[in-house]
Symmetry: C2
Subunit: 345 residues, 2 copies
DNA sequence: ATTCAGAATTGCAACGTTGCATAAGTTGTG
DNA sequence: CACAACTTATGCAACGTTGCAATTCTGAAT
């Protein structure tokens, strides 16, 4: 069990120089090149040599210098997450980051996060990443049908993966929540509860997601034979205004008997208003919402929801991206996440 | 207005090599060293030379190579955020990241985020950062009185800043929410509303924050002449159980007439239970909670709260850390954030 | 013209790594 | 014993940057 390289025990003793390939070369009596080659799994080396190097590296606690590798190879071993400022989906950022973090655990990759403060700057952000060689690949979220960022990275042939599909002709890696399935499920659920007039509450009309949901909504409503209505103008609406809408709805005799909400933030505000208006959800009005955080189930334990697992999405996006960086075939890097219904009662 | 270096117009034209110091040297006819020196503001250079270099660099769109700089100087130009997995404070991660992101905007720093999945691994995380030279400095949150991570970084003389104070003898940079002021404000508010029996609902007892609040709570209650009680055992409690507690309290004739809650997640669950139990907050029971996200004010517009601005905290932590990295005197790098009360009606 | 001080610029080495071309070492063959 | 044909190991250059020691230039004083 004991190592041949006894100095190694105190590998990180104070005053010690950093352990580099040079150190290992000196200790083993091999050349720098050999050590480097060996550590990278050079098959032309004698097994004995490889073992010797591996042992010394381990004993000395060798960790490849990122700057050295990066300078020489151009590989940053970093992936970048462009963090959208949207707050619709509560806890989205944290879960996404955790998901990515979990997926890169044990790899040589680090995660750098680039917050986006204003959506219209998105091109700038990508340009920065491209110009500065910040990362080997990028994860973007809240993708739109003809997303500028996607276009830029396709043009630059730069590895990326989007959370959300696009309408570009050139294929690219993506992972997306199956919004159409979500919508169909929600409509069917409401229909099965006897709803006749269903309203869809949906926000950011710039995302692909929006279009998918709206289309699927009309289709599903027609199929179920119920009246479909969309609450317009909720893009960037304040919670207070959303609450007001709920309050007004509660007082409206012509109000819908079923609601589908795809944003947690808006759901909270809307339900707040509805309840303040005296409605009892599940009795006076049915509602299905898209759930991503643990908060809403706590808050509204009796409400139906359909879950999107953002943590899992982060993991999947990362796996796709890493494969893309390694040069995998793009057609194989497009996956969907199935909605998970949680019906109450 | 037009540049002397007309080739520069298409700086990023396809096929062009990356612009390095060498490129600028060739274009200006100066030596590599001179260009490097000039760009770093070498004062021994003729003004004319400096202008020439600056102009060329700009025209060519020169961006220093991070790997080159890092290899040569050891500076990573990265700061790392260790992201605690706690969910008590809704939207904490996102706001913290945005705050840091905003503060490093325009600097050469990048932000890498290292999610922590289990609190007891915190030493490993820090060791990793130290061993891998991941960053020039670290931001940690959810600090405890004798935080292992703090101890490690002090020992290694590694730049860091903590969100939260510690009890170490050796001073270190921190920025902290003034929990004592928060608690005192909350108690006084409840007292002024006529409360006689106040209960404190508080979670993670490993943080310094916890101790500060508990101590301040007893002190403030004594001063106000009211009965103080602490709800024990809520560390890591599930929202469902917390809700149950609220429900039970509602039915308890001996229940407190005022509640202070320092966690948004627990506030939501607790209030849910209290309301389900038929209580009307503000009438049957007073409550003050610590607010960090925009969600609770939407949800409970009538409830008193005291706000901690996490975005601002992220910014402040970053400023302190950067100063620390630049070698500022530590005593000057300890700041507090004042609570912002939002009393309703 | 020569010397000299100071101003301005430059060459060199190094940071840690990898890829390629080359050099040794080893066996087998005629 | 020479030579081919492997197998195994190494030297060198380069990635882009910076710090230092050394060089060249300038102009004034002798």
């Amino acid at each position: 069990m004991s190592s041949k390289f006894t100095t190694a025990g105190k590998a990180r003793a104070p005053g010690n120089q950093r352990v580099t390939l040079r150190t290992i070369a000196d200790v083993t009596g091999l050349s720098l090149s050999t050590v480097s080659l060996s550590l990278r799994g050079g098959t032309t080396l004698k097994q004995e040599t490889r073992d010797k190097v591996a042992e010394a590296a381990k004993a000395l606690g060798y960790i490849p210098d990122r700057a050295g590798v990066r300078l020489r190879t151009g590989k940053t071993n970093v992936i970048a997450l462009v963090l959208d400022g949207a707050e619709d989906s509560i806890d989205f950022a944290r879960q996404m980051i955790q998901g990515i973090g979990h997926a890169i655990k044990g790899t040589r990759y680090h995660l750098t996060v680039i917050p986006e403060f204003e959506r219209h700057n998105s091109a700038e952000t990508i340009r920065y990443i491209l110009d500065n060689r910040t990362a080997d690949g990028v994860v973007i979220t809240h993708t739109s049908p003809r997303d500028k960022r996607v276009q830029m990275m396709i043009d630059a042939d730069f590895p990326f993966v989007s959370h959300g599909r696009t309408e570009f002709y050139t294929p690219h890696p993506y992972h997306d929540f199956h919004s159409e399935a979500f919508t169909a499920m929600a409509v069917e659920r409401l229909a099965s509860k006897g709803c006749k007039r269903v309203m869809l509450v949906i926000g950011d009309d710039s995302t692909t997601n929006y279009h998918n949901i709206v289309t699927a909504f009309h289709k599903a409503a027609a199929r179920a034979g119920i009246e479909a209505r969309i609450l317009e103008g909720t893009k960037g609406i304040s919670p207070a205004d959303m609450r007001k809408i709920g309050l007004d709805l509660a007082a409206d005799p012509m109000r819908p008997d079923g609601i589908i909400s795809d944003s947690e933030m808006r759901t909270i505000a809307l339900v707040g208003g509805l309840q303040e208006g005296g409605l009892v959800l599940g009795r006076d009005l049915q509602l299905v919402y898209k759930q991503t955080s643990g908060i809403l189930p706590t808050l509204f334990p009796a409400l139906d929801s359909i879950r999107e697992d953002v943590f899992a999405a982060g993991g999947e996006l990362t796996r796709l991206l890493l494969k893309r960086i390694e040069g995998a075939d793009i057609e194989s890097l497009q996956t969907m996440a199935e909605p998970q219904p949680h019906w109450r009662s």
